[in-house]
């Protein structure tokens, strides 16, 4: 017999599932549409089952179906409430430390990507290492500088001389 009194706990995170369900539903539909645009080769290969878009079409439909199920579950659990945050909540989100840390981490990672190939690899590696350590580490700045120089030089030497790996 089922437990009575307590409401049954639904799995998942309603608000995140609501948003992700929507995103994945759109993704699934786009996958279906794009799969149908691929050539079918029906004359040469016998039927639509041989088409390059056949499996992506099925996968798109399955992703759509699953995300729809998650979306409905999220709506039933009240996930649609408060999806659009209030101004205060949005400002608090923007002021939160994890968001700042994420933005800085992304800035450094993408910055590293964009300078690769434009400057020497060991210089690019030194810059990203020092920027990361100077921002996020609690150690003294000269110590971060020293570790960055040693690490970037070490990575360069180990991979070019021992592993014989080409560097960007």
């Amino acid at each position: 017999m089922e437990e009575t009194g307590k409401p049954k706990k639904r799995p998942g995170m309603p608000r995140a599932d609501f948003i992700m369900g929507l995103i994945l539903m759109v993704f699934g539909l786009l996958a279906v549409q794009e799969s149908l645009r691929l050539p079918t080769y029906e004359k040469d290969w016998g039927g639509f089952y041989a088409a390059p878009g056949f499996v992506p079409l099925i996968l798109g439909l399955v992703i759509f179906g699953m995300s729809l199920a998650m979306f409905i579950r999220a709506v039933r659990s009240g996930g649609a409430r408060g999806v659009i945050p209030s101004r205060e909540a949005f400002q608090a989100f923007l002021r939160s430390k994890p968001v700042h840390r994420w933005c800085l981490a992304m800035l450094y990672a993408w910055g590293f990507f964009f300078i690769l190939g434009r400057v020497y690899f060991y210089l690019a590696a030194f810059l990203v290492l020092f920027a990361f350590m100077a921002t996020f580490s609690r150690q003294k700045i000269y110590f971060s500088l020293l570790i960055s120089i040693v690490s970037s030089g070490g990575i360069y030497l180990i991979f070019t001389k021992i592993f014989l790996v080409p560097l960007p």
Partner: protein, 512 residues
């Protein structure tokens, strides 16, 4: 027969060059596993790129040593600071850290080391002596069976890696399958979803995607969440007492076998193996109340299970080209990169390869035992390196590892994008493993479904009538509906009815 071939394979590998590679890669693996945030999958993915130019056998032995070392190495931080170095060692924390708090950290490390070695030995037995038989069964697999196997792999992986919400596990798996559709298809070589981007015409590069999901995601997560580590406990005597091992022999064998079988299930992995082994050990124990408070049995079970799973996960890689765990998925990708073709035909084309890989696994396990019982006090000092110093170095290594294979900056972009996608997915509790498994198995699923249909002019009957297909369909249905309330009620009703009928039969016989 198998024993002779295994011994010969081990003998052939006993060269200074290979032994040096095994020891340094296992040592590096222990360090990678020990440092929270660095996983076995990430370590293997990074080393795959870095050893790409090396001779195949040397490169593969390095990757296997990294795998074995990292899965074992995670027990160090689990015991000393109560943070599992890799997800595989989460069950080790339960009894490992309480032992450390009792001043028995060294003893716990010694037991974890020997248990890991015994787990590996049991797995070696299955790898060397059962894999050839499984290979014979794998020869019966045709397109129909491969299609169901890949589908089963993604579904069971989603089910077990997202126990709270399997739907998210399945969605992650199907997203991975869809991402694998990018690039030229295997039958008509028609470009799909590449939109004129030449770098995408060959499909998403596997290793950069894996490095992104496991490496870059960890860099982002550690930086954003500024995780702190616990206080490290002192290490004294490391060598375990013989009585602790001898009194646990049944536990070791049981956990080893469980580890191997869980490992052989596609994509499931070491974390599940260690928890299942731990659970079985607790049920079988005479002192279940000690579990969670520093039980030697619990620690033994967890560590035996996860290291046995390593060997178990390599078995389907060899005979079916289907990985048993995320690190094994990278190992499979690395084998492909080195022009090795694991799969059903391996047993015909290169049967010796099974013994070679088993020998590599044995050497890595032996190196793990030697390194694990020595230099403990020195090695654990690495745990004092702050995450904020380590993570930027990992970021640079991720870029190098992604670039090294094809020499394309585009692969670094793929790595970064997968890292960016991986972090929110992880926060929303979408597991990584099914996504990666889907990415690896996608091509196999696509090719086999369409080939099966083309060969039978669109007739789907063979997909549902062949015996192995039927077994796999049964497993898939069980995976899909095992958590369904009506299914469970139905099964409970069936069980009651069967028991009632059996009782009725025995009652009528007694009357007669």
């Amino acid at each position: 027969m198998g024993a002779v071939e295994l011994a010969k394979a081990i003998w052939d590998l006993l060269t200074p060059n290979i032994l040096f590679s095994v020891f340094w890669a296992t040592f590096l693996g222990i360090i990678v596993g020990m440092l929270p945030g660095l996983t076995a999958t990430m370590g293997i993915a990074l080393l795959t790129g870095l050893t790409f130019q090396w001779e195949s056998s040397n490169a593969i032995v390095i990757l296997i040593a990294m795998y074995v070392g990292a899965i074992y190495g995670g027990s160090r931080s689990a015991i000393l600071v109560n943070i599992p170095g890799t997800p595989a060692n989460a069950a080790t924390c339960i009894d490992g850290h309480p032992l450390a708090l009792q001043g028995r950290a060294g003893e716990a490390i010694g037991i974890a080391t020997t248990s890991s070695f015994f787990g590996s030995t049991i797995a070696l037995f299955f790898m060397a002596f059962f894999t050839p038989y499984l290979g014979q069964i794998a020869l019966k697999f045709q397109s129909f069976e491969f299609f169901w196997l890949t589908l089963f792999g993604v579904l069971i992986c989603g089910n077990l890696t997202a126990p709270e919400d399997p739907l998210k596990g399945w969605l992650a798996g199907f997203l991975g399958l869809f991402l694998a559709m990018i690039g030229m298809d295997a039958i008509q070589a028609h470009g799909r979803f590449s939109y004129g981007i030449i770098d995408l015409s060959g499909g998403l590069s596997m290793i950069p995607a894996l490095v992104g999901i496991y490496g870059m995601t960890e860099v982002i997560q550690s930086t954003v969440e500024a995780q702190k580590r616990g206080v490290m406990t002192q290490v004294k005597r490391v060598l375990p007492h013989a009585r602790d091992i001898l009194s646990n022999w049944k536990n070791i064998i049981r956990s080893g076998i469980i580890g191997v079988f869980v490992g052989a299930i596609p994509g499931v992995g070491e974390n599940i193996a260690s928890f299942v082994s731990y659970d079985f050990a607790q049920r079988a124990s005479k002192h279940p109340e000690k579990f969670g408070h520093g039980s030697i049995e619990g620690l033994t079970a967890a560590e035996t299970g996860d290291n046995a799973c390593v060997g178990g996960a390599i078995i389907p890689v060899l005979v079916l080209a289907v990985p048993g765990s995320p690190p094994a998925a990278v190992l499979l990708a690395a084998m492909w990169l080195h022009d090795m073709r694991p799969g059903p035909l391996l047993i015909i084309e290169a049967p010796h390869y099974i013994y070679e890989v088993s020998a590599m696994f044995f050497l890595a396990s032996a190196a793990m035992l030697i390194l694990g019982l020595s230099m403990v006090k020195t090695i654990v000092k690495i745990l004092n390196v702050p995450t904020t110093t380590l993570m930027p170095i990992i970021l640079v290594l991720c870029a190098v590892g992604s670039f090294a294979i094809n020499g394309r900056v585009f692969d670094i972009l793929v790595m970064l994008l997968f890292g960016m996608i991986g972090y929110p997915l992880r926060k929303m509790k979408y597991p990584d493993a099914p996504l990666i498994l889907g990415l690896i198995l996608g091509e196999m699923l696509d090719e086999n479904l369409r080939r099966g249909l083309i060969l039978n002019s669109g007739d789907i009957t063979p997909f549902f009538t062949r015996p192995i297909s039927l077994i796999l369909i049964g497993f898939i249905l069980l995976t899909l509906f095992s958590r369904n309330r009506y299914f469970r009620l139905g099964m409970a009703g069936l069980k009651r009815a069967t028991i009632g009928r059996l009782r009725g039969l025995s009652g009528s016989r007694e009357e007669e």
